[in-house]
Subunit: 220 residues, 2 copies
């Protein structure tokens, strides 16, 4: 999306009555949109878990891989006063997210990058992040992890959603019933999990919360 | 237990070959003891969750209500370099815990108080704790919470185990089948949960992990 188009979206919003919505109303709108258009957003239990981590750890800077409509970025910014960079490659999602971030009056704390995350390293290489939240294309989790963890601060934390992939990762019987592409994703997620648990630079625990949340704390 | 008896236990240990056990071996011994003597110790998933919280939050001082055989205190001290005060009222448990703490060479960081926790406030009133872990008599959770949270540091955290009480808290069908005393405990735990969630001084989330873990972060 070019700068002009982005400005049009924001100008449209300036005339919009939605600008006076409360946070709860914006949240309801986002959830309704996600349901109607089948956009996967973080599950409630997973979100409660992520917010608990934010309250405990109080990161100043967060990198999110996978904005979708901005739901989790907005919730994170609402929970703690962190600065968030969030990356999304799908144009429709970017438009929705920009609208939602603007409605929530969080433009000053949430910066959205419209690009494939794997092509973003140069944009971010001079920044440091206290927490990285990965909630994007499941096939790329390992690549995201390897690409962006050099940007973590000391004792930085990586949180990954969808580690159980709707339970499929854990259920060998289900596995055989899946399409070839889903089986491929399951294999990749399992490979990523093994890799995480064996990574001696991080202490990783995986919890059966929401769609499965992994928390990896960088060792000192 | 008087000081003399405590010294005898520790002197016995000085002659004991167990003093050269590795941490893993001590842990296995504790788990075997807990199983043999039916001492309830924290479940593996709950422990992984607690340790993740410690790594994220890095508390310097921890208060534990309910030592039992010292398993969770020893695991906490092994995870981070915190100082721990732990309270236990059962003499047999205290003896086991003192042995285990000594075997794990953690006497310098784990201080055990042999008393009913509800009678301990005066012993502790001049100390501050970054984290309080409650894993003791379920009927008293609310009393423990109210008594000890004034000792929390700013943004201090309270973690409570056994919030689902082996699933009983969540299952109305099971409830009616329980003894009167168990029903009383379930009601008290439910009352505590409601109280926690409504307490405006803390942000509380309850997770279906292990036997149910509540995390309450004191608001700034």
């Amino acid at each position: 999306m070019d700068a002009q188009k982005k400005n049009v979206i924001v100008m449209d919003l300036a005339l919009n009555k939605d600008l006076n919505l409360s946070f709860d109303e914006i949240e309801l709108q986002m959830r309704a949109y996600a349901q109607e258009y089948k956009v996967p957003i973080i599950q409630d239990a997973g979100l409660a878990f992520l917010e608990m981590i934010l309250r405990l750890y109080q990161p100043h800077t967060i990198l999110e891989i996978g904005t979708a409509i901005g739901y989790s970025a907005i919730r994170m910014a609402h929970t703690i006063p962190a600065s968030i960079v969030t990356i999304e490659r799908n144009e429709e999602m970017v438009e929705q997210a920009l609208k939602n971030i603007h409605l929530a009056k969080l433009d000053n704390r949430i910066k959205l990058i419209f690009k494939d995350a794997l092509e973003c390293f140069d944009d971010l290489k001079n920044q440091k992040f206290d927490l990285i939240f990965i909630d994007a294309a499941k096939a790329q989790y390992l690549n995201f992890f390897e690409l962006f963890t050099p940007l973590l601060t000391e004792h930085g934390v990586v949180v990954c959603d969808n580690m159980s992939f709707h339970g499929l990762v854990l259920d060998p019987e289900c596995y055989s019933k899946q399409s070839r592409s889903v089986r491929g994703l399951i294999r990749k997620l399992n490979h990523f999990k093994e890799n995480l648990l064996q990574n001696s630079k991080f202490d990783t625990s995986i919890f059966n919360i929401g769609d499965g949340m992994a928390v990896s704390v960088r060792k000192g």
